[in-house]
């Protein structure tokens, strides 16, 4: 099939970007979306032009590196599918496709379609863990986890840290990502001792990074390739409220 591609080109974070239009013939149905871009890139390099920079690695929908906004939708039109798992059989001959980076205040563009998502790492760094040193762990089966809770924890833990939720949200909010981590630990007995401190610290960092607030639009859930549920956000709100009037909060304030 033949496609017309309008792709965002931006030299670096300080220069302005713009759309450029490319015609691509001979696109095959079995290609993945990124393989289609590979073909275009090879063509550009052979013409002596700079290829389109985009993040990607596993191409299996699990590393969270790929990050395109396709026709206005982060990760494109296919439900519960990352860009790398989107295949060209979902498009048809003659289609025009608009390809942009994930757009959000907290994700500055680095080049072309690559954005800086290190804010997510800093949120995890602030509290997205259980403080257990190597060697401290008790025998694994001494910690029992009801199957339902293990399943819920796993549902939340599946987040791949791609940032589509942020890009989809009109407010550029990272609530879905943060709440997925909060919920993952909240469902497990191992997560209880630090439960309050964790949510306080992660939310604080989230705000520092310039992510917006949640106004219940649920665009995040719709865009999420791992179908992380907005119910996690509700859980996080509850936990945050409880934590805000707790000993842990007092200690945090005192330490500042």
């Amino acid at each position: 099939m033949k496609l017309t591609l309008h792709i965002w080109r931006q030299k670096n974070s300080s220069e302005k970007g713009h759309f450029e239009t490319y015609q691509l013939d001979n696109v095959i149905e079995d290609m993945s979306f990124l393989e289609m871009l590979d073909v275009l890139n090879e063509k550009l390099v052979l013409e002596g032009k700079e290829p389109i920079a985009f993040d990607h690695d596993c191409r299996e929908g699990i590393c969270g590196a790929c990050s395109l906004t396709i026709n206005g939708i982060p990760h494109g039109p296919e439900k519960a599918t990352t860009t790398c798992q989107l295949h060209m059989r979902k498009f048809k001959d003659g289609d025009e496709i608009w390809i942009e980076p994930f757009r959000a205040k907290a994700f500055p563009v680095i080049k072309d379609l690559i954005v800086d998502r290190s804010a997510f790492d800093r949120i995890i760094q602030a509290g997205g863990f259980i403080s257990v040193n190597t060697g401290q762990a008790p025998e694994a089966n001494s910690i029992l986890v009801p199957k339902q809770n293990a399943e819920k924890a796993m549902d939340a833990a599946q987040c791949i840290g791609c940032g589509a939720c942020v890009a989809a949200c009109p407010n550029g909010s990272a609530m879905l990502f943060v709440s997925a981590k909060v919920a993952h630990f909240a469902y497990l007995p191992q997560g209880q001792p630090e439960r309050k401190l964790r949510v306080l610290k992660m939310v604080e960092q989230m705000q520092k990074e310039g992510f917006g607030n949640c106004s219940n639009m649920y665009e995040c859930e719709a865009a999420c390739p791992k179908e992380i549920s907005v119910r996690n956000i509700a859980l996080m709100f509850r936990d945050y409220l409880k934590a805000s009037c707790s000993e842990e909060k007092l200690e945090l304030v005192e330490n500042e």
Partner: protein
């Protein structure tokens, strides 16, 4: 040279304990005086960095990814082994040890494998404490399943995303230390060289992928946790960026590369669909628990699979290996698939595929159970191929997946270059000539959480290290060489892209050094690869600038190293004139097509020393002795 693996004396069950007692310690107050550079943030690197920082060492971590969480370990699906024996089905540390030595076709170091089995249980404890949401029974206890090459259930799993969950556990431990300022993290930073001063590894030279800046870092020890090199085949199940540069550059600086020809071809991957293909996708081996592998009995049978009656199907794994059936080890299952396809009985448009059929399992257990077990894998398959595996059998074919070869290390996980430690898939590992399923995650985490943190202390406590800084002439020289290499690549002005060269190299390697190798095919590859390398250095095209984010340059640097490394792999495959595990030399097989080892001549590790580009490297050996698992013909019948 005969290499010494420095295996401690004593009975195998006591070696590690004894060694831990005999190793010298670094006092808590002194630990913070040592700086350790860890390259790689996969399971091995992240677990090591976190554990070392917890102990009080200064740690700096490097990865070319934008976040440590993107390391290729994230993609592991099936599970992780441990000898917990929770199902009460007869497992033990000894049995896991035995299975791994046998699975590796007697080409690994017994003492290392035993230690791996010993610490396997601690790994599960550690991961559970970190909050890894492993699968559970209704009772709340941990669940297990079985995997290829084992007759019992010792695999722990988190749906089809075990690697992801284990890596997120190690990543969270790592990020906690970053937050505590115990670790300095360098993302989008690629190591391009190792700095060796007076024979001791003292630092690395890196390129900042955002702005092209070349920088040096100095440390008291360097740890490489940079993963495997399956992408030498271009098409593999590995992530796009996986490459051999870190370990290959260390090799060029004097580290020995062990058993580079030991590569694993995984039997259950989605077959190639066309020339545009950028990678091959693994379908977890766990599918072989319930799926049945078959091809038509008659060559050229083009009917739809559902139209082929039961008695015209050949369930060849069940037929040839009745006691393991569809769970035969990977090398055996892969070769069997190749054999039936070579007989003209392969299916699909290219004839290079076999069926993996779930219809019996669905009949037996119901669609719901199958969906629970493999739902996400089935969805992935459908997304990629457009076929629905609930209705029609999957099509699968073997693909390069894992590399057992890697830098040579002793029992302390240190290479022959003092100070250079190598962990995870990057070392030549405990898997011998073939790795069993769910054992790479185990090994990466064993190395990182429970072995290196002890042994590296012994190195510091017994070594007098000179004070050096990055102003040392050796650092300057190394930086200059890296800059030269980049300049050269930027200025070739030819007509082919790095990807084109990579694809060509991959084809040479797959056709001649792939699933089946012969003296003839290897000699042919030994002619083709240097030619391609020459062409690369005279006909490469390049765009963009070196001082900028430049994806073409990144790729070119990696392909340049693959083009040299490939030759090393071929030499190893040629000199290892036997078949063992994943290394199958067609000249050496039993009448039924099984790999025929030659223990008289090859019961050893081959560790190669660099002697210049295009020259034949020097082959050193470390003899292997099997005191506890007697050398036998590996049989899975």
């Amino acid at each position: 040279m005969i290499l010494d693996g420095k295996v401690p004396s004593g009975h195998i069950t006591e070696k590690w304990d004894k060694h831990r007692f005999e190793m010298k310690l670094v006092s808590p107050a002194n630990k913070r005086k040592y700086k350790i550079l860890v390259v790689g943030t996969g399971l091995a690197g992240a677990s090591a960095a976190a554990s070392l920082a917890e102990l009080g060492y200064q740690v700096e971590v490097f990865t070319y990814h934008d976040s440590p969480r993107r390391a290729h370990s994230i993609a592991a699906q099936g599970g992780i082994n441990a000898a917990k024996n929770y199902p009460n089905d007869g497992d033990s540390i000894w049995r896991l040890f035995y299975d791994t030595v046998k699975g590796g076709d007697f080409r690994s170091r017994e003492a290392n494998v035993y230690r791996l089995a010993q610490v396997s249980n601690n790994i599960i404890d550690q991961c559970v404490a970190q909050g890894v949401p492993f699968a559970r029974e209704y009772s709340g206890y941990l669940a297990n399943r079985s995997f290829g090459g084992a007759q019992l259930s010792r695999t722990f799993y988190a749906r089809g995303q075990t690697g992801q969950q284990l890596l997120l556990g190690a990543y969270s431990a790592l990020m906690r230390q970053v937050g505590l300022k115990k670790i300095i993290l360098h993302t989008r930073t690629e190591m391009l060289d190792l700095v060796v001063i007076d024979g001791v590894a003292r630092g690395i030279v890196t390129r900042n992928l955002l702005n092209g800046k070349i920088e040096s870092f100095v440390g008291d020890a360097v740890v490489l946790a940079t993963g495997g090199y399956s992408n030498v085949f271009f098409l593999s199940t590995n992530a796009q960026a996986c490459n051999v540069t870190a370990t290959y550059r260390a090799y060029k600086r004097g580290a020995f590369f062990a058993n580079p020809c030991f590569t694993q071809i995984h039997p259950t991957c989605i077959p190639q669909s066309g020339e545009h293909q950028s990678k091959l996708t693994l379908m977890s081996e766990s599918l072989r628990n319930d799926g049945r592998v078959w091809v038509p009995k008659n060559p050229g049978d083009k009917r739809k699979p559902t139209d082929i009656p039961e008695d015209e199907r050949d369930y060849y794994l069940e037929r040839m290996y009745p006691s393991y059936g569809n769970l035969a080890p990977r090398d055996i299952a892969s070769r069997a698939a190749k054999r039936v396809c070579d007989e003209g009985r392969g299916v699909g448009p290219t004839g290079n595929a076999v069926y993996l059929d779930f219809s019996d399992a669905i009949k037996r257990l119901g669609k719901k159970v199958i969906e629970e077990r493999y739902g996400n894998l089935f969805e992935m398959y459908e997304r990629i191929t457009g076929d629905n595996p609930y209705e029609t059998p999957m099509m699968i074919y073997p693909a390069p997946h894992y590399t057992m070869g890697g830098l040579w290390v002793d029992y302390n996980l240190m290479s022959n270059l003092p100070g250079l430690h190598v962990i995870g898939e990057a070392n030549f590992s405990d898997h011998g000539a073939n790795r069993l399923g769910a054992s790479a995650l185990m090994q990466g985490l064993a190395d990182g959480y429970f072995i290196l943190p002890y042994t590296i202390g012994h190195y510091f406590a017994t070594t007098k290290l000179e004070k050096v800084t990055t102003d040392h002439p050796e650092f300057k020289k190394c930086e200059e060489e890296v800059k030269e290499r980049i300049k050269k690549l930027m200025s070739i002005n030819g007509k082919k892209t790095p990807t084109q060269f990579h694809r060509e190299l991959g084809k040479i390697m797959w056709d001649n050094v792939g699933m089946a190798r012969t003296e003839e095919s290897l000699k042919k590859a030994l002619e083709l690869v240097p030619k391609l390398r020459e062409e690369f250095w005279s006909n490469l095209t390049m765009v963009g600038e070196e001082g900028d984010l430049n994806i073409v340059l990144e790729k070119a640097l990696r392909v340049a190293d693959f083009l040299e490394f490939a030759e090393l792999m071929i030499w190893d495959a040629l000199e290892r004139d036997e078949s063992c595990g994943g290394h199958f030399r067609e000249e050496h097989q039993y009448p039924d097509g099984e790999a025929k080892r030659d223990d008289e001549r090859f019961c050893h590790v081959a560790a190669w020393e660099y002697t210049g580009v295009g020259n034949k490297p020097i082959r050193h050996i470390e003899p292997l002795t099997f005191e506890y698992v007697p050398l036998t013909v590996r049989s899975y019948k």
